[in-house]
């Protein structure tokens, strides 16, 4: 198969980017999208040109590294998969394919198709954890968790943090990401003690990073490779309301969970 690729090239965060057209020859239908790009890069290296920078790691759809907007859709035309799981047989021979990076103020472009997604890490640092004392592992089945709760928590926890929700949202909002993380922990007994502080802190961090707000279009849900439901965004809103009520009851800021260990 052969393809015409329009790829976004940008040398650095503050440089101007532009599209460069490349031809892809001898592509096998069984190649993944990233393998096809590997082929292009091999050729570019051979001719002494700068290869196209793109992010990848596990290539089995679980790490959340690959991040390409393919023909206007994050992770490409198929639902429920990451870019690395997209195969070239999905495209018709001779097709023209436009490849862009995630575009968001909070995700500055580092080079070509690679963006800096550490804004999501900083949201996690603000509250996406539980505070537990170190020591021996807790015995199994000490905390009994209902099947439905466990399922809901697992559905939310399947978020791999790839940022496709941000890329697809017209407001570049990270609501689905935050919703998944907040819902995951708030559903489980281990996450309950800090749930009010967590949701406030994570939403505050999200705003500070320059993400937009939710317009309830659910584009995020449509492109999420893990099929995280926008129901969790309603749950996030509920948690936030609850936190507002709980925190208004005790105005003093609860002590930082890290104060002890410091």
């Amino acid at each position: 198969m052969t393809f015409t690729l329009k790829i976004w090239r940008q040398n650095g965060p503050h440089e101007r980017g532009r599209f460069v057209t490349y031809e892809a020859y001898d592509v096998s239908p069984g190649m993944s999208f990233l393998e096809m790009l590997d082929g292009i890069n091999q050729r570019l290296i051979g001719t002494g040109e700068e290869p196209v920078a793109f992010e990848q790691d596990c290539r089995e759809g679980i790490c959340g590294s690959c991040s390409l907007v393919i023909n206007g859709i994050p992770h490409g035309p198929d639902q429920g998969i990451t870019t690395c799981q997209l195969y070239m047989r999905r495209f018709s021979d001779g097709a023209s394919i436009t490849i862009e990076p995630w575009r968001a103020n909070a995700f500055p472009i580092l080079k070509d198709l690679v963006v800096d997604r550490s804004a999501l890490d900083r949201i996690m640092q603000a509250g996406g954890y539980i505070s537990v004392n170190t020591g021996g592992a807790v015995d199994g089945n000490v905390l009994l968790i209902g099947k439905d709760q466990a399922e809901t928590a697992m559905d939310a926890a399947s978020c791999i943090g790839c940022g496709a929700c941000v890329a697809a949202c017209k407001n570049a909002s990270a609501m689905l990401f935050v919703a998944a993380k907040v819902s995951h922990l708030a559903t489980l007994p281990q996450g309950r003690p800090e749930r009010a502080r967590r949701v406030s802190a994570m939403l505050k961090a999200m705003d500070q990073e320059g993400f937009g707000s939710c317009g309830n279009q659910y584009e995020c849900e449509a492109v999420c490779p893990k099929g995280i439901s926008a129901r969790f965004i309603a749950n996030l809103n509920r948690e936030y309301l609850r936190a507002g009520i709980v925190e208004s009851g005790c105005p003093s800021e609860p002590e930082s969970p890290h104060a002890e260990s410091a």
Binding site: A104, N105, F211, N216, V223, A234, L236, R238
Partner: protein, 210 residues
Amino acid sequence: MVIALTGLGLVVFVVFHMLGNLQLFEGPLALNRYAAVLRDMPILLWAVRIGLLSMAVFHIGLALQLSMQNRRARPLEYTIHRYRKASIASRTMAISGMALLLFVAFHLLHLTAGVIDPGFADRRDPEGNRDVYTKVVHAFQNPFVVILYLVGQLGLGLHLRHAIASSVQTMGFEHAGLNRLLKALGPVIGLIVVLGNVAIILAVFLGIVH
């Protein structure tokens, strides 16, 4: 959150406004009496008016502020962007909202304040009430007014279609068993309000009510 709350407040108003206006079909005396009852309670009437106005101001002001923030969240647009799920209504909220604002301004000047068509402002019916009925019937015999109002209703329907279910989600109402009902709220309530209003406009225009 505030946008959702104020929006829902305005939705409640348009529903009752439509229901009240349907009394047009009960004849001139019924509609004029209804109008007189509303005017007989000036404190309540003005409280509602000020409430609606402040809700609208908050709703629009915050929406503008948010959309400016959202624009900043993606400084450089995609060259190609394809929607997968977003409804047309959800993508045109700003346009339908602005169309609604213009329409409401016209509507208030037209039928409430009587600035645009002053001829009928002070007419009385046989019971001595203000003759709202004749004013409405006169207005909707004019095809330009009818087209303007129908466009206004289109904007209203489009806005409500996304707005109601969206507000419900923003307030955090969501339940596996109720989701289909909650999602249907927007289109259903929007359709009822629009159909009720359009029925009034067309009934007059087509000469069914005169």
